[in-house]
């Protein structure tokens, strides 16, 4: 079996299940803002949103190791077995953490993992931005500009994910207050503002992913 075709195929499938399913999350979030819906309806929407959101999160975790395999298969760069193994360990561990967080959202372990994830994303984002940025500026360690640009933008994706997490945080308290004490214009305004801010972050994420896909397919420079 041709390794380039295999890893290209998996890379594309991850892109498909990342961006494609995220549209479902985005749509459910827009519906969630509507103050005329009952709290039960909005809880169902959150449930739907959370289930579908698993797909983009898992794809995010796995796209880098798969991308590394593709890089090696295309012979763009020499990728050592040790680096590949590390990327897979990180990717698979992250997937496990995502499932643990999903099942234990309100428990201490879930909250701890969510905090660790933010730090993890921050550090990995910095790593990719540094590698991509330095390569674009100096031509090393990544000589191909399109590839360096992809890595730089991939780093920004990590930071966008953190921004999303922070922007969506103010949603929880007013939303739960609506469930406990009923809807008020102030609570609804706070919920809408948090969702709107998060949706702007999501749009940035989509643009980043689309540009990354463009760079990888078209290789314009």
């Amino acid at each position: 079996m041709d390794p380039v075709a295999l890893w290209s195929y998996l890379h594309i499938l991850l892109f498909v299940f990342w961006l494609g399913t995220d549209v479902g999350v985005f749509t459910a979030a827009i519906f969630l803002k509507n103050p005329t819906y009952s709290f039960e309806t909005r809880l169902v929407l959150i449930k739907l949103l959370s289930i579908v959101d698993i797909f983009p999160r898992l794809c995010f975790a796995l796209i880098f190791p798969v991308g590394l395999h593709l890089t090696r298969a295309l012979e763009i760069y020499q990728i050592s077995d040790a680096f590949l193994a590390t990327a897979w360990i990180v990717g698979v561990s992250w997937c496990v953490a995502i499932f643990v967080m999903m099942r234990n959202e309100s428990k201490p372990i879930g909250k701890l993992l969510a905090k660790l994830q933010v730090w993890f994303e921050g550090v990995l984002g910095l790593f990719f931005v540094a590698v991509g940025g330095v390569s674009l500026a100096t031509g090393a360690p990544l000589a191909a500009n399109w590839y360096a640009g992809k890595i730089l933008l991939f780093g920004f994706v990590f930071w966008a994910a953190i921004a999303l997490h922070i922007l969506f945080k103010p949603f929880e308290q007013p939303f739960m207050a609506i469930g406990e004490h009923g809807s008020t214009p102030e609570r609804e305004a706070a919920v809408t503002a948090a969702i709107n801010r998060a949706l702007k972050g999501v749009m940035c994420l989509y643009i980043l992913i689309a540009v990354i896909a463009f760079l990888g397919t078209v290789k314009p420079f």
């Binding site: 079996m1 041709d2 075709a5 295999l6 290209s8 195929y9 594309i12 499938l13 892109f15 498909v16 299940f17 990342w18 961006l19 494609g20 399913t21 995220d22 549209v23 479902g24 999350v25 749509t27 459910a28 519906f31 819906y37 009952s38 039960e40 309806t41 169902v44 929407l45 449930k47 739907l48 289930i51 579908v52 797909f55 399109w146 689309a210 896909a213 463009f214 397919t217 078209v218 290789k219 314009p220 420079f221």
Partner: protein, 224 residues
């Protein structure tokens, strides 16, 4: 490196694949809530709204993928047809996308869309016959392409279109059982029938997913 038309159309082909298969996952999960009898009527109504809205992306993308796929096939010389077919196929695709969007915008006017729905169904059956003919004649060595992988891909796309038609047939009288559910007046029998119908339709949907993955693999691998 100059940006070639081939790579841009290829990227669009992948993006349409993304909004077909990926977004359909959202449709699939929304449909679960729509038929959950223990959920409130309002919650199911809005899940139905989300499902219906999201469903437009895969419907539009399916024609986008045909248009971009044909363009790539002709530009790269996989299809033994004149380049004018790019324009013809795109005109058909845009017209069909118009029909899809018209059916969505007018979905609350069943009498108005009934004839369009009927013609859309018939046109899909014609498309299946055309695609099956193109793929089988190509596999036999007398068709529009000499590449067997592409002929096989056309056959897989025929299968996808057939699954879509079978799904429509499986949900033909769905509204009759589903509307009482949404009004809260459904008998247990009606609820069960609606759920069974959706269950049957889901088998065809899963068939579409599986065949889409196979079609993508054939396009990338070109194994024969």
């Amino acid at each position: 490196m100059p940006v070639g038309i081939d790579s841009v159309v290829l990227l669009l082909h992948v993006v349409f694949f993304c909004f077909w298969l990926g977004t359909d996952i959202g449709v699939f999960y929304s449909s679960k809530y729509v038929l959950q009898a223990d959920l409130g009527q309002e919650a199911r109504t809005y899940c139905l709204k989300i499902m219906s809205f999201l469903d437009q992306l895969p419907r539009v993308s399916s024609f986008g993928i045909i248009g971009t796929g044909t363009t790539i096939g002709i530009l790269r010389g996989y299809f033994n047809v004149a380049p004018i077919w790019i324009l013809i196929v795109w005109l058909i695709c845009f017209a069909w996308i118009g029909v899809v969007l018209y059916l969505y915008v007018q979905e609350h006017h069943p009498a108005k869309i009934a004839p369009v729905k009927k013609w859309d169904f018939r046109a899909r059956v014609v498309l299946i016959i055309v695609l099956a003919t193109l793929s089988l004649t190509s596999l036999a060595g007398h068709g529009v392409t000499d590449d067997k992988w592409l002929a096989a891909k056309l056959l897989v796309i025929t299968g996808i279109m057939t699954c879509g038609v079978m799904m429509r047939l499986a949900t033909r009288n769905f509204g009759k059982y589903f509307m009482p559910m949404m009004k809260g007046t459904a008998t247990p029998e009606e609820t069960r029938t609606a759920q069974q119908m959706m269950g049957n339709a889901k088998r065809w949907v899963l068939g579409i997913y599986a065949l889409l993955v196979v079609a993508a693999a054939l396009g990338l691998w070109k194994p024969f």
